[in-house]
């Protein structure tokens, strides 16, 4: 049956730890979908990647059924992991928290490629660089 989508919600949450508390509860309950069915399924599918942020993109249909796909980790979390830092800069235009080489940018862009709205690796790299700058991370050659 052709289904009409009524909402698309992406949850950026930790692998294996979905539960009905915020943000999952309020974000999904309003759309009338079975929250526990989502949590159970998400936790099962991400159990081997605990510690990473694995986004889930949930499409809710007009009959309140839903499906979800797992996405690549957020660019910022990949940058943090690569630099071994906990968070980005609070004042990204002045305080820098790290440096990424172009090779590292390319590595992240390759991981993110399936989810980025980019036709080629160069434009994907530009998007990664944009995120890096917003975190106070500079790019070096």
């Amino acid at each position: 049956m052709a289904k009409k989508a009524v909402a698309i919600v992406k949850l950026e949450i930790e692998a294996g730890k979905a539960n009905p508390a915020p943000p999952i509860g309020p974000a999904l309950a309003q759309h009338g979908i079975n929250l526990m069915a989502f949590c159970k399924e998400y936790n099962a599918r991400t159990a081997s990647r605990i510690g990473d942020i694995i986004p889930a993109e949930i499409t809710v249909f007009s009959d309140q059924s839903f499906k979800f796909v797992l996405k690549t980790p957020p660019t910022a979390s990949l940058i943090r992991k690569m630099l071994g830092i906990d968070k980005g800069s609070g004042v990204p235009n002045r305080e820098k928290v790290g440096k990424l080489t172009r090779a590292q940018v390319r590595e992240i862009a390759e991981i993110k490629m399936p989810d980025l709205n980019a036709n080629d690796i160069e434009s994907a790299m530009l998007q990664v660089e944009g995120t890096a700058r917003s975190m106070g991370v500079t790019i070096t050659d």
């Binding site: 079975n34 009959d63 839903f66 979390s77 968070k87 995120t131």
Partner: protein
């Protein structure tokens, strides 16, 4: 009861991840990003681009004002690099989110005797009612969708005790269960989605018809491999999928003279689908419409 603060802001696609990463430092367990689409979106079609709303939650307690200030400050610095709006704050009461979805479900009466009932609800059951209990997993035929209703009505009309029925794309199993409850001797149901297979099996068990229903992963090929042709075929799919499976020998699922019932087709696709079905010897005998949706009943030619 805990009260929560919700912080939200509307951004374009590019800024969403960066904003989410800033908010993440201050909120509980992660971020929700909702895509707003003004028009309609259909499954398996490119979805319209639209603005995104990034949301995060933190407990409303003595630290509320401090956290708000921190968030505003962090976003202020981001705004020097990206054009982003100011965040909006509101408070929400904690509720039983785990069970909140249940209030969207109600018993639905379809056709003359069929009553679809959420498993946890009591319903006003009349004599001779055929009650079908459903517990929604991820795949749920609530019985509220027009195509499900049209198919259930057709089942009531055409399925007689002792018949054999094939269900192509069973989903939650609702049609297969209805067929069994209407007296079908054998129902073979398939779905390409493994999750649906599991949900359909659970629902069949819940309704006490596991004996009559065999659910497996598959499509036309698996139904043909069942070794016999069926008296009734059910396919609540889409026009596109119906046309995709036609070359696989779709018509051979039902025996000559048998009925094959299709739904999930919208009215503007009627001519295209009907002519494709007639070309393989499935002659259209009846068309019902509800809203935009059609139910097409066909009979397989005997020669």
């Amino acid at each position: 009861m805990t009260t929560w603060n919700e912080v939200s802001l509307q951004v374009d696609g590019e800024g969403a991840e960066a904003v989410a990463d800033v908010l993440r430092r201050y909120v509980h367990q992660g971020i929700a990003i909702e895509q707003l689409f003004p028009g309609e979106a259909w499954e398996d079609e490119p979805r319209p681009a639209g603005p995104l709303v990034v949301r995060g939650y933190f407990p409303a307690d003595a630290n509320t004002e401090t956290v708000k200030e921190q968030i505003e400050q962090a976003l202020y610095y981001m705004r020097l690099l990206y054009p982003i709006p100011k965040p909006t704050f509101k408070t929400i009461e904690e509720e039983d989110w785990a069970d909140a979805w249940k209030q969207h479900y109600h018993p639905v009466r379809i056709g003359l005797r069929i009553l679809i009932k959420p498993a946890w609800l009591e319903a006003d059951v009349r004599e001779n009612d055929i009650v079908i209990e459903m517990d929604p997993g991820m795949a749920f035929g609530t019985g509220t969708h027009p195509t499900t209703q049209l198919c259930l009505e057709a089942c009531e009309r055409f399925i007689k005790p002792g018949m054999t029925v094939a269900d192509l794309g069973t989903g939650s199993g609702i049609l297969a269960i209805a067929a069994a409850r209407l007296g079908a001797r054998v129902v073979v149901a398939v779905d390409v989605d493994e999750k649906a297979v599991q949900v359909a099996q659970e629902n069949a068990a819940r309704n006490g018809v596991s004996e009559q229903i065999r659910v497996s992963k598959g499509s036309v090929k698996e139904l043909l491999a069942a070794g016999k042709q069926f008296e009734i075929g059910l396919a609540n799919l889409t026009a596109k999928i119906i046309q995709t499976v036609i070359p696989d020998g779709l018509e051979k699922i039902v025996m000559p003279g048998g009925r094959f019932i299709f739904s999930g087709v919208i009215d503007e696709q009627q001519d295209e689908v009907c002519s494709a079905l007639e070309q393989i010897g499935l002659m259209v005998s009846d068309i019902q419409q509800r809203g935009d949706w059609l139910l097409i009943t066909t009979e397989r030619q005997t020669t």
